[in-house]
């Protein structure tokens, strides 16, 4: 386990360094002079020069990278060009909303996928199975920036049950979470079905049946437990996709999280904020992935011995 831990952590370190470097380089992709793009055509040369010095863009590339990196280590992400506020404060203010939405999406996905996947596996090749798999196919195919408006149209505008947008009471979380969670629910339902089908063929299931256990007891205590491992792994890997998808879902529902901040910052050409948002989401994703990996190895000894 220790060897695995060291190897995973060292590759995490390299990836983190790489992500920071790539995000740092993003600003150099801006066509033309980034300072001019950020300030607009009307800015005076003095203001341009000031921003150039403030962002360190007058320095050689390596010095710029080093400054960026060393500031990051001290938790200094710079200041927003637009509101002049420290970026780390902006991120901290928005982070709870994004985490809330992501975990709600995850919860919705599990809530839909587990029963659906179980039904499909237990009643394989029946109407239940076909129904669940059709849902799954639709779920992965429907874009969330279309599903969001449709849900708003139905549940908010026509039925008046739920708020249209924003983050106010608990009910305002339902539609965004449903929008974000559907695609994952679809993938997860398929995975649950496939894994359960495999597990149901095992001999210990036959033993449980022979003992006279009821079907629900077998599914819950024997099958689902053994199918949990691949499902947990998939969840860990897909959490990043949820974080990425949150950017669009937050925009649809005016949900005040990091994703909405990213899009707003892009529109205002507030590039340091864009960089910080991308960095935060990616680093969260990488860390979660590594933790999933380690959790998997911890839960399943077979993985440990194969490293």
């Amino acid at each position: 386990m220790l060897t695995l831990l060291i190897s995973r952590l060292s590759s995490l370190l390299i990836v983190v360094l790489g992500v920071i470097t790539l995000v740092f380089l993003l600003i150099h992709l801006v066509p033309g002079d980034p300072v001019q793009v950020m300030l607009g055509e009307t800015a005076t040369p003095a203001a341009q020069e000031e921003l150039r010095i403030q962002l360190g863009l007058d320095q050689p590339l390596f010095t710029q990278w080093w400054t960026y990196f060393s500031h990051l280590l001290q938790g200094d992400l710079g200041h927003s060009l637009h509101s002049k506020a420290p970026i780390h404060e902006m991120l901290l203010e928005r982070l709870p909303a994004t985490l809330e939405l992501t975990f709600a999406g995850l919860f919705v996905a599990l809530l839909i996928a587990l029963p659906l996947g179980c039904l499909a596996a237990v009643f394989k090749d029946t109407a239940w199975d076909y129904g669940a798999m059709t849902f799954s196919l639709l779920g992965v195919s429907i874009p969330n920036f279309w599903m969001g408006p449709l849900l708003i149209l139905l549940f908010s505008l026509n039925l008046g049950w739920l708020p249209v947008s924003g983050r106010t009471e608990f009910s305002s979380l339902i539609l965004p979470a449903l929008t974000l969670g559907t695609a994952l629910a679809a993938i997860l339902a398929r995975m649950t079905r496939a894994t359960l089908l495999e597990v149901l063929n095992e001999e210990y299931i036959r033993t449980a049946k022979a003992k006279g256990l009821s079907d629900p007891a077998i599914i819950i205590h024997h099958a689902l437990r053994n199918a949990a491992l691949p499902i947990i792994t998939l969840l860990g890997l897909q959490l990043g996709t949820l974080l990425g998808g949150a950017v669009i879902t937050e925009t649809v529902f005016a949900w005040p999280g990091i994703g909405q901040l990213t899009v707003e910052a892009i529109q205002k050409r507030d590039y340091p904020v864009v960089q910080a948002c991308v960095l935060l989401i990616s680093l969260t994703y990488v860390v979660i992935n590594t933790l999933t990996d380690l959790l998997y190895a911890w839960l399943d000894p077979r993985v440990r011995y194969h490293v």
Partner: protein, 263 residues
């Protein structure tokens, strides 16, 4: 039968619509103020949008945009990714180590986030969208090509080719690439679904093609402001997107079953 017929019809219609959009006398950008937000009628099948532009015409142009982006992104990602993956596995050692690390770094950006950041910084436009999505897309192909090449590299026919003195490019081209085709085709098929959604997603955020060029994504975005009074503006581009992605996913499943390649 349905599993082949449905996707074929949808995807061929998509291709034909994309091609026809270049020859049909369409006026997707023509603003007609008297028709603003008019619902579908006998004279205009799909109605008009918030600027009084024909939704049918814009839908057809949108098919062109999504097809063009999907074609270029998949072609570029497939070519570059496969090449890099094969080289990485074939050479091994430090080359492989460095390439794998670079792939890990690209994979560290969740889903569409890197594409959003790239297109946001590069500015809107068709070629920027293609560039941004290819930067994100090559990694999947590279990973697959690398894994497959690693397992093929020591097969007997490859060893035989080496023993006969075949050069590396020849071995990669004639002895390994043909065997990569099946898994790469499946990856590319599912990739189309991802690219079509991503292009529309970027346009939805205002980071895709430059207005007034029609994209299903920016049509949905424009329509969301008039959801209650004119839901038809949002419905049609969404249905088109859904049909194509659905068709591609069904086709992908079908090809996978047929070629019997494990995930």
């Amino acid at each position: 039968m349905f599993k082949l017929l449905f996707p074929s019809i949808i995807l061929i219609s998509w291709l034909l619509t994309a091609l026809l959009s270049q020859v049909l006398p369409l006026s997707p950008d023509l603003i007609t103020l008297p028709h603003i937000l008019n619902p579908p009628s006998s004279s205009a099948w799909l109605g008009y949008d918030d600027l009084g532009r024909s939704i049918a015409d814009r839908l057809i142009m949108g098919a062109h945009t999504s097809f063009l982006v999907a074609f270029w992104v998949i072609s570029l990602s497939l070519t570059i990714g496969t090449l890099i993956g094969m080289i990485s596995a074939w050479w091994g050692g430090y080359v492989d180590l460095v390439i794998v690390r670079i792939m890990d770094i690209f994979l560290a950006f969740p889903g569409i986030l890197l594409a959003i950041a790239l297109s946001g910084l590069l500015g809107p436009g068709l070629s920027n969208v293609i560039f941004a999505l290819s930067v994100v897309g090559w990694v999947g192909f590279a990973r697959l090509a690398r894994a497959q090449t690693l397992s093929l590299k020591n097969r007997e026919h490859v060893l035989a080719a080496r023993a006969l003195g075949a050069q590396t490019p020849r071995i990669l081209r004639y002895h390994i690439l043909p065997l990569l085709m099946a898994p790469l085709t499946i990856e590319a098929t599912f990739g189309i679904a991802g690219v079509v959604i991503a292009e529309a997603g970027l346009s939805f955020l205002g980071l895709g093609v430059q207005p007034p060029t029609a994209s299903w994504g920016n049509m949905i975005r424009d329509g969301t402001q008039y959801l209650l009074v004119a839901p038809h503006v949002v419905i049609m581009p969404g249905v088109s997107l859904l049909l194509i992605v659905l068709a591609v996913n069904i086709l992908g499943d079908r090809i996978r079953d047929k070629l019997d390649v494990k995930d």
